[in-house]
């Protein structure tokens, strides 16, 4: 076993030799480091997700912390022996760290990257998981020209950008203690994209003002971005900012304070995704022979209403996370009636009637109205189904009045 040669200043020499033995030794080191790191560092850091320490996710809790925020500035290709560098950008962290085309990143913070068995451990995800509190991490790199292995420390602290600030209440707005605050950066390049979130984090409800911080991923040049916030409880948006606040720039840290008001008072249309969840009211969307009474119970929270629909339409209790999936949908700007249409058009319900369009349209009618369709109504339903080209979601959406 020979000593590895020392790379430039940023490279820390390690004791393994070139060749296959070196690879095995590196793998051993990586595995052992992983085991030890696992013991030393339980996954609590993952809980902070894409936000500041203390951030919590109530509906969906992302695993890697701040993915996309830590970039080396390289193009890569995954392989069973690591992540191969195929391009290094000029003026990047990778360049200053001494990475070169042809190098292979074997491990990040002691954890192997690339294909390990059948699974892919992505370099970007691993960087996000393994950076320490000072935003630095050590890469284990096999040099492409010499085959030497070396530890390469990388310091990201000056390379990340964030948006931070405080969330205020307008004085009247309240959020129950079990609610959550969501802050997000949205792409507002086109009006149609007002609900396209690029990064978001959730924070527990608390006394206003509440501090927040979002670490920004790399954002597209030429796009415009803004930040907004809302408070959620029971699957309903109860507080929100009146409109997104534009970000002046994305290449430097920014301070943006936001004021939340009661959602019902803002009058923002449901298409923004920031409106309170509306209940279907008014006449059916399509005129014809089919009267549909699909009004959800006003006394139910959206989450409870979804539970009730799953039980009533699918004849079983909700499965693990099933309600969470639909609540996540609501929080992304969809209406409660679209959730109802989604459940009624499910493959499960279609399967229950043996994939028979005739039985299906009659069953949907029965579930919505509590009675069987008359022959004329059945014919109308069948016509609508065919007009929707058999796409059940479209068929059911035509029966349920849209939320306001």
């Amino acid at each position: 076993m020979t000593m590895a040669t020392c790379r430039p200043k940023s490279w820390v020499p390690i004791i393994f030799s070139n060749g296959a033995l070196g690879v095995l030794a590196a793998a051993m080191l990586a595995i052992l480091s992983g085991v030890l790191a696992d013991a030393d560092e339980p996954r609590t850091r993952d809980d902070s997700a894409s936000g500041a320490p203390g951030a919590q996710m109530s509906y969906l809790r992302p695993a890697p912390a701040r993915p996309g925020a830590y970039r080396l500035g390289i193009n890569v290709q995954n392989s069973p022996v690591g992540v191969q560098v195929i391009e290094v950008g000029s003026g990047t962290l990778a360049k200053s760290a001494g990475l070169e085309v042809g190098d292979t990143i074997v491990a990040v913070g002691g954890y192997q990257v690339g294909y390990v068995g059948e699974r892919l451990f992505d370099l970007g995800d691993e960087l996000a998981r393994r950076v320490d509190v000072s935003e630095s991490v050590t890469l284990l790199v096999r040099h492409g020209r010499t085959g030497d292995l070396a530890n390469v420390p990388v310091q990201f602290a000056s390379a990340t950008r964030s948006v931070a600030g405080r969330l205020f209440s307008d004085g009247k707005a309240r959020l129950p203690a079990s609610g959550v605050l969501v802050v997000r950066v949205v792409d507002v390049t086109h009006p149609e994209w007002e609900n396209v979130s690029v990064v978001q984090a959730q924070f527990p409800a608390g006394e206003f003002p509440v501090s927040y911080q979002l670490v920004l991923p790399t954002l597209a040049s030429g796009h415009r971005y803004a930040v907004d916030a809302r408070g959620e409880h029971g699957g309903r948006i109860v507080l929100q900012t009146s409109q997104p606040t534009p970000l002046a720039a994305v290449d430097r840290d920014q301070q943006v304070d936001l004021v939340l008001t009661a959602a019902a008072a803002t009058g923002v249309s449901s298409s923004t995704g920031l409106a309170p969840v509306a209940r279907p009211t008014g006449p059916p969307a399509a005129s014809g022979l089919v009267p549909v009474a699909a009004t959800p119970s006003p006394s139910l929270q959206p989450r409870d209403q979804i539970d009730q629909w799953i039980r009533a339409y699918l004849g079983r209790p909700p499965r693990n996370f099933e309600t969470d999936v639909w609540v996540a949908e609501l929080m992304r700007g969809r209406s409660l009636s679209s959730v109802q249409a989604g459940i009624l058009s499910s493959t499960e319900l279609f399967e229950r009637v043996s994939r028979s369009p005739d039985l299906y349209v009659a069953e949907v009618y029965r579930l919505l109205t509590g009675s069987q369709p008359s022959p004329a109504q059945f014919a109308d339903l069948r016509k609508r189904f065919d007009q929707a080209l058999g796409v059940r979601l479209q068929f059911v959406e035509g029966l349920i009045p849209p939320s306001r």
Partner: protein, 339 residues
């Protein structure tokens, strides 16, 4: 004293080396890094929540989807979600079957084929000849399936490996395999009767492959209009066996049976090590031979491989991809990986 210290140090070094070697060997043998548990995260969508769909441009125009009925509802959600961000795009969905969807892609009457089984090398070769370039097939999610038998069938588990499958043909096979439940459990000479969906569907082909292994299942399979109908038939058939979704498996008269996987599985999906009861679902597209992708096709695939696209599948009780699986599909598409 010095000698004792020397031996103590030597002993400590030996123990340390053993621990290192043991840990390394265990890790290498398991093909894992020794850190992350192999099981899926608690909520499969949780780790995807930060993989937002980030459009690069506003696109418009038609996009034609065709294929598997398993993916039909997911595709309807995709269309709805995609058109919210790109209102001038028009997505149409032709619900046919995997076979027909693939054919539509090859005939260029569809832009995206929805597939509920893997495409064979022969099918890819034929398509490549016709199109002048190979279609690219990527996984988009999974359908979690369970094996079911009649409730009075006492079989405890179904031994399985990818070569031989689980079901015997009874003659001339090595290793020998069974053709009646007698061989697997105390059920007197009841013939195994496999129930599935109709031929032509990806669901049926996947069943045939798992049941019969590489050689395929030589015996008859009773076809049904739906998986629910197949499940009902098994509930009425003492020798019945089928592979169904979670909803159908909960019907009365049925019992779920686990697979006993004899050897490691060479996964169908790049970047994935899921067991075979997770049936991969795919889309196929025909990327350009050179130059950039058509923007609306690229945006659509990007949407499918994002959190909202995966949430759409979960809304129809399908299983989303993991982060690693998504990254691997993007790599398969030849998209640059910038890190």
């Amino acid at each position: 004293m010095k000698t004792n210290s020397f031996f103590a140090a030597l002993y400590l070094a030996a123990v340390t080396a053993s621990v290192i070697l043991f840990a390394a060997a265990a890790g290498v043998a398991d093909d894992t890094r020794g850190d992350d548990p192999p099981a899926a995260p608690e909520n499969p969508l949780a780790e995807l929540a930060t993989m937002e769909y980030r459009p690069t441009s506003l696109v418009k125009g038609p996009l034609r989807l065709a294929g598997s009925s398993t993916l039909e509802q997911g595709a309807a959600f995709w269309a709805s979600g995609f058109m919210q961000v790109h209102p001038e795009a028009t997505l149409t969905i032709a619900r046919t079957s995997t076979d027909a969807g693939w054919q539509a892609l090859v005939d260029t009457t569809a832009d995206v084929a929805l597939l509920s089984r893997g495409i064979t090398p022969a099918e890819i070769a034929a398509a490549t000849t016709k199109l002048g370039r190979p279609p690219v097939i990527i996984a988009v999610g999974f359908d979690q399936l369970v094996w079911i038998v009649h409730e009075k069938n006492p079989v405890a588990a179904l031994p399985w490996n990818p070569e031989t499958g689980i079901i015997p043909d009874g003659a001339g096979r090595d290793p020998p395999r069974w053709s009646t439940w007698t061989d697997a459990a105390d059920q007197a000479s009841v013939p195994v009767q496999v129930h599935g969906s109709e031929p032509g569907s990806g669901t049926r082909r996947y069943l045939e492959r798992l049941v019969g292994g590489e050689a395929g299942w030589p015996g008859p399979i009773t076809g049904h209009d739906s998986i629910t109908a197949a499940a009902e038939a098994i509930a009425a058939d003492r020798g019945g066996l089928g592979l169904v979704g979670m909803a159908a498996a909960g019907r009365p008269g049925l019992r779920r049976v686990p697979l006993e996987i004899a050897i490691g599985v060479d996964g169908d999906v790049r970047g994935s090590d899921r067991p075979p009861n997770f049936r991969p679902l795919y889309v196929a597209v025909v990327p350009p031979t050179e130059g950039d992708w058509p923007p609306r096709l690229r945006e659509f695939v990007s949407y499918v491989l994002s959190f909202p696209g995966q949430l759409d599948l979960a809304k129809d009780s399908l299983v989303p991809l993991s982060r690693g699986e998504i990254h691997a599909q993007k790599e398969r598409l030849g998209w640059p990986i910038e890190r």
